[in-house]
């Protein structure tokens, strides 16, 4: 099937089988490999992308189901080579180690801060409570959310 995806502002026309996952389409058809797949059943959150601005698990969506929609992946967060406030806060706070789960956190938090630009620490924890990280123990990720909100 032919699908039109608008990813990070760029339109792509792509021919995919109906069963192709959005995560696989982004990664292997469009070669935007910043979106990672950690569990393929929607629990870890590594594959989170923004669909019309809202965070979704791209491993739980079929590419054909998002025809015509706007998608933001981690590759679309920086502007003109400048890190977004969330990305910069992760670097400043040592919010990543192996970096595999990081894109899902970055997209989740980007959307979360749009909805709640000035979170309390409890709200910051709530914001990331659906994403798994096996390296950092989350301490510095929480710090990064707070810092991104108040750079």
């Amino acid at each position: 099937m032919n699908v039109r995806l608008v990813v990070n502002g760029v339109p792509y026309d792509v021919e995919v089988p109906p069963r192709r996952l959005l995560s696989d389409c982004l990664r292997h058809d469009l070669r935007l490999t910043g979106t990672h797949v950690g569990c393929e059943h929607g629990v870890c959150g590594a594959c989170t992308v923004l669909l019309d601005g809202r965070p979704v698990r791209s491993c739980l969506l079929l590419a054909v189901s998002v025809d015509g929609l706007e998608i933001t992946t981690v590759e679309g967060l920086a502007h003109n080579g400048e890190l977004s406030p969330v990305q910069q806060a992760f670097a400043d706070c040592h919010g990543l180690q192996c970096g595999f789960c990081t894109p899902g956190f970055l997209t989740t938090i980007t959307a979360g801060l749009r909805e709640n630009p000035d979170p309390t620490e409890d709200e910051a924890r709530e914001m990331i409570a659906g994403n798994l990280c096996r390296c950092t123990g989350y301490q510095n990720i929480v710090a990064a959310v707070m810092k991104a909100a108040r750079p």
Partner: protein, 803 residues
């Protein structure tokens, strides 16, 4: 120049991870053929027949392999990587099952197709006929040996091993007090967010193989592939891309897929890739932790341990590719910071029809710490003494270092602690957590109807085991410094910490230093990343290599500046004569001068041709010299260096629901000199979180048939942010190691080691019920309460009856 060693600088590798520019294994090889494995659905069965005919018409199918397609060394069992004299009945699997499967998930056939979807379609249509056999699941069943995992291994025992010093029987028999304990730890697993994966390309014309793998050892894998595929080592390259966590599981090599994928790439002449999915990772990678312990201990009135006798049973799963490393680590590191008067430890390493057990962060130490710390707590309870005081009474003192137990550690070297100050560590921890004022906290909570408890636990960790690592440092004519070491990186920040070391050693800006790890093309001699060894081993080797380069740079610069090397310093990448401004030469220019040229290709090289450089009466490169400004060196330690630490936790247990909440978590940690405190603290945070998982949530729920009931992230409960402590208070000691040039000790595993012990201690303190098995869930704690209540009622009835 600001000193980089010891500075908490931000990581230099972060940008690519933050922008989607990193390259993990599955980010490579988009056009490669894809692999799917047919895996055993049975824990124990004979493979009677494999019928592939149903798969042959699947669109996009390229090839199907079964055991019968394996030839030469590839048809032999997989390597037993770490043999040991006590491992009398070691067994390893075949890359594809030959006639028997011994755990759910064992690979039986491999499909290669145009993409993974099609490969899975074909795999589903391969019909394997099995004759199921009785499954041996759990340590009790293995020990009982009603059924055998391997017909030729009596009692399911792969190894029985004892180490001892002193006369433990006499010491316990003559002790004023004696206790015995039975303790248990269940299975968990490394569970990195990135699963395993391997990509191989065969170059038909040059007969060379290039392999990318998400492995913790590029050089080990390279040697294994060469041996198993019958290739010359020089014709095999292994490259590690960015790796999404390892925590031990990726040190196992070669995984079946790491041989089968290169085999297929060579046979088909096309790139082939395997990316493991999450369900596969649960049943086809490795687990750890499960052990049962029986302890007999004799002690005096102050709680000093006079004799400690430990008998334990270790579940190593279906095969023993990684030898006895985990139980040997348990049996030696169990001792922690203490010096029992006499000690004996004996273990059986047992086969079960479950996934193999190989090191997971901590590698047998969490179990050892759990057993030792439970024992010390039991002694304190028995004598009515403060738990911290009993620990103090048993500590090895700083003036007893180096302390040699007379036992052999996992590396075959003496168990010999090099340095550490345990009393000072405990002092810091007591302050950090508020140990001495906790009774007031308990009373205040009790007044509110709340139940709280405090626990502490100590550990010593042998880190930085040999045999060796190496480093290569090259200064280019641009002044850029290229550093390579052979071991691999899974998120530890090596591109930052190794650059910090080099920047200081050479006197160059850190922005000029670039570090490459885990690429056999850049550095072919290495061991791997495990046992908290990277900073100790490669850090030291890189420092030594940088010192060689510095020495040569000063020699060449001294010639050019007509000065003595002693009068030179290197600042910001420029060699200059101290106190003589203007008399200086950039390191890049020194690199130019160190390589006499015949051909000039730019202005810099014009200055270095053999026609303008050097004494025309002598050879352009002296007999004992080499062209270029580079150095290579190796670090090989006499034995491991022993880091230590202590954790304390305050928990609240809900009187009704038995929910366990963490109120405070404190860590005091001594890993010698800190290269980058920010990165070390990050390692501790991550270790503590994994420890929380291991203590309160994570277990591998096998049923009696050997089916893993919770093989998904839905059911295997890794901590989210909601489960980890809100804030971890950390304090450091820096007791340098005398064994290496940097004075460093390993830090990677530390955070996870005392977790089961410290939570058991705190929950027991809150509840007043002995905690002898970890992990512990709210429902298990609830059960323990019920049992304890009915036991109390029974004993009251009993004493009333007697009256």
């Amino acid at each position: 120049m600001t000193k980089m060693f010891g500075a908490p600088i931000p990581r230099r590798e972060d940008r690519r991870f933050l922008t989607g520019g990193a390259a993990f294994l599955d980010d490579l090889g988009h056009d490669a053929l894809a692999v799917a494995l047919v895996r055993s659905p049975h824990a124990h069965a004979r493979v009677v027949d494999i019928d592939v005919s149903g798969a042959l018409d699947v669109d996009g199918l390229i090839a199907i392999y079964t055991y019968d397609d394996l030839t030469g060394a590839l048809a032999e069992p997989l390597p037993l990587l770490i043999p040991h004299p006590a491992l009398t009945h070691g067994r390893t699997a075949h890359a594809l099952a030959r006639d028997e499967v011994n755990h759910v998930g064992e690979p039986v056939a491999m499909v290669v197709a145009k993409d993974r979807y099609l490969a899975e379609d074909a795999a589903e249509r391969i019909a394997v006929t099995y004759e199921p056999l009785p499954a041996v699941v759990g340590i009790e069943a293995a020990r009982h040996a009603d059924h055998l995992v391997h017909d030729d291994v009596p009692g399911n025992v792969a190894a029985n091993y004892t180490q001892a010093y002193g006369d433990v029987d006499a010491a316990i028999a003559s002790a004023p007090h004696r206790l015995s304990l039975d303790l248990a730890v269940e299975r968990s697993a490394s569970t990195p967010l990135e699963t395993r994966g391997v990509l191989a390309e065969w170059d038909t014309e040059s007969a060379r193989l290039r392999v990318w793998s998400s492995t913790q050892t590029a050089t080990g894998l390279r040697a294994a592939i060469a041996a198993k595929l019958g290739l010359d080592l020089t014709n095999v390259e292994v490259i590690t891309p960015d790796i999404g966590g390892g925590f031990g599981v990726k040190i196992v090599h070669p995984w079946p897929e790491e041989l089968l994928v290169p085999m297929a790439a060579r046979a088909l002449g096309r790139p082939v890739k395997f990316t493991e999915d999450r369900a596969e990772h649960f049943v086809a990678a490795a687990h750890e932790r499960a052990q049962l312990h029986h302890v007999e201990v004799g002690f005096d009135d102050e709680g000093r341990i006079l004799g400690l006798d430990v008998r334990f049973w270790h579940d190593h799963g279906a095969y023993t590719p990684y030898g006895l490393i985990v139980p040997i680590v348990t049996s030696t590191q169990l001792l922690g910071p203490y010096k029992p008067g006499a000690y004996r430890v004996e273990f059986d390493s047992l086969y079960t029809n479950t996934v193999i057990v190989t090191p997971y962060r901590g590698a047998g130490r969490p179990q050892g710490a759990f057993v030792m710390e439970r024992t010390v707590d039991a002694i304190a309870r028995d004598l009515g003494l403060d738990r911290a005081a009993v620990r103090e009474a048993n500590f090895i003192q700083p003036d007893e270092m180096p302390f040699d137990f007379g036992l052999t550690f996992q590396d075959g070297r003496p168990l010999r602690y090099d340095s550490g100050d345990y009393p000072a560590t405990l002092e810091k921890l007591k302050k950090l957590v508020g140990w001495d004022s906790f009774e007031a906290v308990r009373e205040a909570a009790r007044a509110e109807g709340r139940r709280v408890g405090i626990g502490l636990a100590c550990y010593v960790e042998g880190t930085g085991v040999g045999p060796y690592e190496g480093g290569h440092v090259l200064i280019e004519t641009s002044g850029k410094v290229k550093v390579a070491t052979g071991l691999t990186t899974q998120g530890q920040g090596h591109q930052t910490v190794f650059a910090q070391i080099v920047a200081d050693e050479l006197g160059v800006p850190i922005s000029d230093v670039e570090v490459v790890t885990g690429d056999t093309r850049r550095f072919p001699y290495a061991v791997g990343t495990f046992a908290s060894r990277a900073a100790v081993m490669s850090g030291s080797a890189i420092a030594l290599a940088a010192r060689n380069v510095r020495e040569k740079a000063l020699r060449v610069a001294a010639d050019a500046l007509e000065a003595d090397t002693e009068d030179l310093e290197i600042v910001e990448g420029v060699v200059r004569v101290k106190g003589n401004p203007g008399a200086e030469i950039a390191l890049g220019t020194v690199a130019v001068l160190s390589n006499p040229l015949r051909y000039a290709f730019d202005e810099a090289s014009q200055a270095a041709t053999q026609f303008v450089v050097g004494d025309p009466g002598k050879p352009p490169v002296a007999d004992d010299d080499e062209p270029g400004l580079e150095g290579r060196d190796y670090y090989s330690p006499p034995h491991a260096t022993f880091a230590n630490g202590m954790h304390a936790v305050i928990v609240e247990t809900d009187p009704d629901t038995a929910e366990i909440r963490i109120l405070k978590y404190a860590v005091v940690h001594d890993c010698g000199k800190l290269i980058n405190p920010r990165i070390v603290e990050g390692q501790i945070h991550g270790g503590v979180a994994q420890g929380v998982g291991g203590a309160l949530y994570e277990r591998m729920a096998y049923d009696e048939d050997g089916q893993l009931q919770n093989a998904s992230f839905m059911d295997f409960l890794m901590p989210y942010v909601t489960e980890v402590p809100r804030g971890i208070d950390i304090d450091h000691l820096e007791t340098p190691s005398p064994l290496n040039p940097l004075g460093v000790k390993g830090a990677g595993e530390a955070g996870v080691i005392p977790s089961a012990a410290v939570f058991a201690s705190a929950i027991e303190d809150a509840e007043g019920i002995p905690i002898t098995s970890m992990p512990i869930s709210p429902s298990e704690l609830f059960e323990l309460r019920e049992t304890a209540t009915s036991a109390r009622t029974d004993s009251r009835r009993h004493s009333e009856d007697q009256r």
